[in-house]
């Protein structure tokens, strides 16, 4: 009975992953992904995705053999992996047979992506005699998956890391190649050795894979020694080490936009803007536990304020310097946070989400409406927004600055990069200080149990309003920078999806965690921006990522607890010293 159950579970796992691979093929993802290589001329990204699915099928199926002690016998595990991978491969083979070798497959009438080129891809260009290939590849991949399960822990983490690094390098090989080649002829040789046109070279793959494994194993054996060695260093040594690290990071951060060109700079600016919004929402949602689904409204308000105050277009009210407009925009956003906060003070949980959702939509609709078009431009938006000009700072409160900047104009995305990154760093610092303050603790107490917090003397009205206001201020700052980056704003760019993106990046990063916001923004905003080719599947991948994250790592990529405990160790030590 138990044996039969186990076999069925293995087959079921294989079937599930088989269906997933068929789905990925039929939505066209595999075909599009195959335009990119992981290893140039060896394996495309599309093929890699299918192989990864078969490996995962083998891995999950073989997990059924793990006994309560966490041990697993090699033979049953490998057999399970083999069977599951085989089933996955067979199922995919069914799709190949279904498409058939004809120029206009019958299946295509229903599934547009069941094309001859997909057939070519799945039969490895060999046509109809290759029905054994997919099941064989599937079975081998399943074996690899099971083998991964059997790997001792010491090797598993290095292999994990190495795979991640290889995939990362392969995805961005085009960018790395350009960046390296820009550095001069010496680097060009290195670049061409490691990175091909569409993916890594074979040599590059091997170097990255085994390089990472070696480093990881070395760190496994020597890491603690090195750490304790650093800890034993005299204080001056530690400080200089820290200074060197910070200087190195600063050097990379400062040089990055110059080395990489405007595209990367613009992507990083977008990420930084989402970090600003994320840090803002992290205060209302992550710290105080107040779910706000209309957060984009504050971004819009910040952007429109800067637009109206600095634009040379038809709707510009004033032409005050950008640097003066930004604090005003932040204050206006704060005021909007106050106004949103007042009516929803007593609203809790799900109801709060709906109420704030309404607020976001109202702001977007008003900004784009014909009714208010004389003020906000309606669907035409606000254009001709001033670029930050470093020369206008002389007479600081000059109300009407000339259109042509007399000093250094921050006109390019590379220039805005510095502005956005500096703003994100500053706000991250502010958020961190707030978190560690009395106000931050009151927020978290409200998140945990509002009634008890109130009984301990926390003024709910004041504390909640401050959460809305400070969160809004940060989003407003993001909006202000966005306005000057794009130079024009339209109500249509303030969609609900932006708010949802911000909520998602907080959840993926780790609720309430400041580094989590940064990681989440890079992961959910930065990666899709960089991988423009696959943008049609952006939200499919997005959804899959969210589901997998919630199942596998619900606490987020960088949860706050770990940092929390670290911080507290130092605090406790400090207090002991004080006593």
């Amino acid at each position: 009975m138990k044996k039969e159950n186990f076999l069925w579970n293995v087959v079921k796992t294989g079937l599930i992953f088989g269906v997933i691979t068929i789905f990925l093929c039929l939505v066209g993802m595999v075909e599009v992904f195959s335009k990119r290589d992981v290893v140039e001329n060896v394996i495309t990204l599309g093929q890699f995705v299918l192989l990864a699915a078969a490996c995962a099928s083998g891995f999950i199926a073989s997990r059924g053999t793990v006994d309560p002690q966490g041990q697993s016998k090699p033979l049953p595990a490998l057999a399970a992996g083999l069977v599951a991978g085989l089933v996955t491969g067979l199922l995919l083979e069914l799709l190949v047979i279904g498409i058939g070798g004809s120029a206009e497959p019958a299946l295509r009438k229903i599934f547009l992506n069941a094309s001859p080129s997909l057939y070519q891809l799945l039969t490895f260009g060999k046509g109809s005699d290759t029905y054994w290939i997919l099941p064989t590849v599937g079975a081998i991949s399943g074996l690899i998956g099971a083998g991964y399960l059997l790997l001792p822990e010491i090797f598993r983490r290095p292999v994990n890391r190495a795979m991640l690094v290889v995939i990362f390098m392969a995805l961005f090989s085009g960018i790395f190649r350009v960046v390296f080649i820009n550095q001069g002829p010496g680097m060009e040789v290195v670049a061409k050795f490691l990175f091909g046109q569409t993916g890594l070279t074979v040599a590059g793959t091997l170097i990255f894979f085994f390089g990472v494994i070696l480093i990881a194993i070395f760190w496994n054996y020597r890491g603690e020694q090195i750490q304790s060695g650093v800890a034993r260093l005299p204080k001056s040594g530690q400080i200089s080490l820290r200074v060197v690290t910070i200087a190195l990071i600063a050097f990379v951060a400062l040089g990055l936009p110059l080395a990489s060109g405007p595209f990367i700079a613009q992507v990083i600016v977008t990420v930084a803007l989402f970090i600003l919004m994320g840090l803002g929402l992290n205060i209302t949602l992550g710290f105080a536990g107040l779910l706000d689904l209309g957060f984009v409204a504050f971004y819009a308000i910040g952007a429109y304020t800067v637009g109206l105050l600095t634009s040379y277009g038809p709707f510009g009210l004033q032409h005050i310097p950008f640097w003066v407009a930004v604090p005003i925009a932040v204050l206006v956003a704060m005021g909007a946070g106050f106004l949103l906060g007042l009516p929803v003070l007593g609203v809790r949980g799900d109801y709060l989400a709906i109420a704030t959702l309404g607020f976001g939509e109202i702001v977007r609709l008003l900004a784009g409406s014909d009714f208010l078009a004389p003020f906000f431009g309606g669907p035409q938006g606000i254009i001709g927004i001033q670029k930050p000009c470093l020369g206008t700072l002389g007479p600081f409160l000059k109300i009407d600055v000339p259109r042509v900047c007399n000093g250094v104009e921050l006109g390019h995305p590379q220039d805005i990069y510095y502005l956005a990154v500096a703003a994100a760093l500053l706000i991250a610092f502010v958020a961190w200080r707030l978190r560690e303050s009395r106000l931050g603790r009151a927020w978290m107490a409200i998140r945990e149990d509002e009634d008890v917090a109130e009984a301990l003397g926390v003024n709910l009205i004041q504390t909640k309003l401050l959460a809305y206001m400070l969160g809004a201020a940060m989003a407003g700052l993001g909006g202000a920078i966005f306005a000057t980056l794009i130079g024009s704003i339209f109500a249509t760019s303030m969609q609900l999806i932006v708010s949802i993106n911000v909520v998602s990046l907080i959840i993926v990063g780790g609720m309430g965690s400041i580094p989590g916001v940064i990681v989440g923004a890079i992961f959910l905003i930065g990666l899709p921006e960089l991988l423009r080719e696959v943008s049609e599947f952006r939200y499919l991948l997005y959804g899959m990522t969210l589901i997998i994250m919630m199942l596998a790592k619900p606490e987020g990529l960088w949860p706050s607890q770990a940092t929390l405990r670290e911080l507290h160790h130092t605090e406790v030590e400090a207090s002991v010293e004080a006593q």
Partner: protein
């Protein structure tokens, strides 16, 4: 002896149900008083009226001469009333130390702006608060547990942490809602001694809801009995034990309830 809290004709209704019915009540300063009564007698509702959780519909509550029946819970807490909860309500995802620091909220008065700038005043204030939190942690016997998340603490430690958090508000009156619930005999004994210490060493007036008769009879100077929202008796432990109305409320209504109540009684004597 002066009274610290006076409640006059306090009434609380939930729809048609009168949960607390015109109860008069007094707590002398630095006393340990208890409120007992069968389940659903309105004890916790009365607690909630005092702490502002659920405002009473009629009547007046005076704390050191200030009428508090219309104040918000945070304002009442500032006056010097703190409480614990029947089902422990800690800030689960915060560390033990942070829980106590939230209790000190009302004594810290640096603004968020100075916290962001990081003025030396803020540093000083935080340092003192942290030292005080450590001291309270030691006082309730949780030394070295400050870093642990509240939800990871064992049950008894959570109870004590909740008391430490209440103490952080420097209360003059501490309301304990069934503090011995779920404790074994040894823990109960420790708790009784601990409650006495709170009064004797810190001079805090204690108002206690408790089912555990041994605890109640052991430490209370005065006991009030509620039944169906009404005060049916008041007096010293000896008086209450011999009061026929109380015996009736606990034991006397019909055979079925008698069986249950006496079983409960036996149970509590055994565990006590």
């Amino acid at each position: 002896m002066t009274t610290i809290l006076t409640a006059t004709k306090v009434t609380k209704r939930f729809g048609g149900l009168v949960a607390v019915n015109t109860v008069d009540f007094e707590i002398p300063e630095k006393a340990i008083v208890s409120m007992i009564g069968p389940n659903g007698a309105g004890k916790t509702t009365f607690f909630n009226c005092i702490t502002g959780f659920g405002k009473c519909d009629e009547g007046e509550i005076n704390f050191e001469g200030t009428p508090i029946q219309r104040l918000r819970p945070d304002q009442i807490s500032r006056l010097g009333i703190a409480r614990t909860y029947q089902n422990i309500r800690l800030f689960a995802e915060m560390s033990a130390l942070e829980n106590i620091l939230v209790g000190q909220h009302i004594f810290l008065n640096s603004s968020w702006i100075s916290a962001v700038i990081g003025t030396s005043k803020v540093h000083q204030e935080e340092k003192i608060a942290l030292a005080e939190a450590q001291r309270l942690l030691d006082f309730v016997g949780l030394k070295g547990k400050g870093d642990q998340l509240a939800r990871n603490l064992p049950y008894g430690a959570q109870r004590r942490l909740e008391i430490a958090r209440a103490l952080a508000t420097k209360p003059k009156l501490l309301l304990l809602d069934e503090p011995s619930a779920g404790m074994n005999p040894r823990e109960t004994e420790d708790l009784t001694a601990f409650i006495r210490r709170l009064r004797d060493e810190l001079g805090i007036t204690i108002f206690l809801i408790e089912h555990h008769m041994r605890v109640v009879m052991g430490i209370s100077e005065n006991i009030t009995v509620l039944d169906y929202g009404e005060k049916i008796a008041e007096g010293t432990p000896a008086e209450i034990q011999s009061n026929p109305l109380v015996i009736e409320a606990y034991l006397g209504r019909g055979a079925a309830t008698e069986g249950m109540a006496s079983a409960q009684e036996r149970h509590s004597t055994k565990t006590g």
